[in-house]
Subunit: 448 residues, 2 copies
């Protein structure tokens, strides 16, 4: 044997052990099901892209976090940073894809985040996007599917905060004299308000976006407009009386909120929040972020917006698009902190124990019967004491144990031990699968 | 807009567009379900590991294919090459994981393969492993779950080819005078027999493993022993009369075949094939590969074996382990070539069309009713002509279209168009979900 190598996970990364992964995997399946109920189709893109595909799309703050390297063939490559830019590449590369193209993708992405903030460098994104239509119904669908995902995952007290880049552009017009690079810098800086606080954001607006004190005051007066959605919209009507782009933003938001209400996304879950800007450069219309009201410091767990210019980087014309992305790992970290995550350590509902070496083939057969009935079943692999085997099932969280000794074998029965209830029943072998199913433990969507 | 960037996928990688991805995603779900029915629990490990974790485990031929680079913090890192070495790291790192540890993992891996052979550099592996027991029942479970996966995916004419490293060690003992590095080289070279042919393998045995012509003849005489499993075992009894390690191999294979027969893995699917060696260094016991009989040139679509020494690289003691891995992408490439893959281009079963601008909220409500009944439903986003909307559904492969005009709205009915059958029925709105469900189209395991 070689020198022993220290078993350690790479800095900034983590393993998902079964106790976390069982719930995580169930959640991913629920999300996939919601996406399909909304008629989205799956897409998968590579983990690596040519660097030129990803560079220059996200803005400088994000771009510093990209994993870039040379592959063995000397190509400059990037690890996937999000699922949106690869989608834009796909849409341009396969012009025959029928529009609107409604795709979902559930894949990990990699960002070299500062780990001191408790952030990880690999996380799972679950995205839906609708490409090829400017219809506000598509924006509505994204918010609607987002609410459905939160409900499917039984997330309590979430709010989807909505704003619109055109409202911020309207603000930019009011400020006057901003050059073309200043406005994206304002978006990126305002995006840091929840994480970095007002003082830092003020300083950055002054230094990076070259805003005057007067302009900064106006920015904050805007960001802090509050009240019900209808009240805020009324304030904006007044504010943007002279700004065409601002009025377009208000009209979009008003229509979007009306649609959302019509499909059951009410004001308790969808809030107009003018401080939402989104840090990425590519957004052009509605933008949204989702917070757990009981844990606002967590940051957004589901974000998105409209990005009508991005695909034009790759195609010979602009193609409108809108999408939303569930940040599953951050959401789960939040639910764990709120003690709302169930942990299971077993998928099996039955353990077939091994008692008598002469009955080896009978135990295999019991496992076969249960598994063919689609009942998740573990087989014990040794002739240990029954006590040890039952302890194993109990520690593992397997609720039932099947026991067959010489007498049971002769009568073609088994003893089924219900471990939590600390009792057992004698069951005929031909009734075993039905007995377990009657106890409601068979595998099927959601019961595990 | 910036200069246009050519939309292209990285050399050696590919996109899975919805027509392929819908089946692929269904297949992954079926595999996951089979794994859970066998009582395996899910694990996820990072895409990146410290390089020292992966280097030196697979052998030199494999190691050349690793993606190695420096991250932004100057750490030497590797992209995941398989799921087995990360599992070994996890088992050593978390000694409290209850044994036997039966985990599954479904994740992509990356290998810088020679793309001229039609191979891709990213592919999905679906692995189960049983760690912490030497019981042959664990080897049996791996073969059994493998057969169940092939059946769940409706793969016709597959054969799981079984051999054992101890049989090859017995052969090594018969050859005499091999040094410690020659035998692993023999394994790696023999592994290339299906892909490279006899002449190249002979040359490599001569050059890299320094075998004499006499020894090479003996190797081929061994590899070509054929017949039924029982006939081959009888031949090996004779051949290994003087080799203790060879006899251990024969005993293991005999017991494993008997177990497999007992659980319904018959000789039509499990064949003893002495030419199976597995190219990776870490195997120590049973080894298996799976071929589509109608497409043997494809190579193995599901492989595995026992590796009792690997975890010892990371832990302070050896921990026995056995596993099997489904190479989903190669399997699918084979099924595609055999024209056995269904292609679907839609997940939705219903399209809600838009006829009358005054009824906008009614269309949203129809979509809401269907989706709340868990029926995968698309909403059309524009007031195009009905013909164009029906054409869209037809081209997309959505079988039903729901139509509501002024009259239907007044009567609270819809027309449901069955596109394939080119007929339509009038259905009351309150009966719509039930009508679609009666047509058997509701989402649920496998019906999509």
């Amino acid at each position: 044997m070689a020198t022993r190598i220290e078993a350690r996970v790479l800095k900034g990364f983590r393993d998902y052990l079964p106790a976390q992964m069982i719930s995580r995997s169930r959640a991913i399946q629920s999300i996939r099901e919601v996406f399909e109920i909304f008629g989205f189709v799956p897409l998968d893109t590579p983990a690596l892209e040519y660097a030129e595909i990803l560079l220059g799309k996200y803005g400088p703050d994000a771009e510093r976090l990209l994993y870039v390297f040379e592959d063995n063939g000397g190509r400059k490559v990037c690890m996937r940073y999000d699922l949106t830019v690869p989608l834009a590449r796909v849409v341009a590369q396969y012009p025959d894809l029928q529009k609107p193209f409604k795709r979902y993708q559930i894949s990990p992405v990699w960002r070299g985040e500062n780990t001191s903030k408790g952030r990880y460098r690999e996380f799972m994104q679950c995205d839906v996007d609708i490409v090829g239509t400017s219809s506000l119904l598509a924006d509505t669908e994204c918010i609607w599917v987002g609410q459905s995902v939160m409900r499917a995952l039984e997330v309590p007290n979430f709010s989807i905060r909505l704003s619109h880049r055109k409202l911020l552009e309207g603000l930019g017009a009011r400020l006057g004299g901003l050059d073309a690079t200043a406005l994206p810098q304002v978006f990126r800086t305002v995006d840091k308000l929840p994480s970095q606080g007002r003082a830092k954001v003020e300083a950055e607006l002054r230094e990076k976006a070259s805003l005057s004190d007067e302009q900064i005051r106006e920015v904050f007066a805007f960001l802090e407009i509050s009240g019900s959605t209808d009240e805020i919209l009324e304030r904006l009507d007044g504010l943007f009386a002279d700004s065409a782009v601002g009025r377009e933003g208000v009209a979009d938001v008003r229509a979007l909120v009306a649609n959302a209400r019509a499909v059951g996304v009410g004001d308790q879950h969808l809030r107009l929040d003018l401080s939402i800007a989104r840090g990425l450069d590519y957004y052009t219309g509605a933008v949204f972020e989702t917070f757990l009201e009981d844990l606002p410091s967590l940051g957004s767990v589901m974000s998105g917006g409209r990005y009508d210019g991005l695909i034009g980087f790759f195609a010979n014309r602009d193609i409108p698009a809108v999408g939303i992305s569930v940040g599953l790992d951050r959401l789960f970290a939040g639910l764990e902190e709120l003690k709302l995550m169930a942990t299971r350590t077993a998928t099996a509902h039955v353990l077939v124990t091994m008692m008598d070496e002469r009955l080896g083939a009978r135990y295999l057969d019991l496992a076969r019967i249960l598994r063919e009935a689609r009942i998740p079943t573990e087989l014990y692999y040794q002739f240990d004491s029954l006590g040890k085997q039952l302890q194993y099932a109990d520690k593992r969280g397997v609720p039932l144990a099947v026991i067959m000794g010489e007498n049971e074998a002769a009568e073609n029965t088994v003893a089924v031990k219900l471990l939590k209830e600390k009792r057992q029943e004698s069951v005929r072998v031909e009734d075993l699968a039905a007995f377990v199913q009657r106890h409601g433990l068979v595998i099927s969507g959601g019961t595990l």
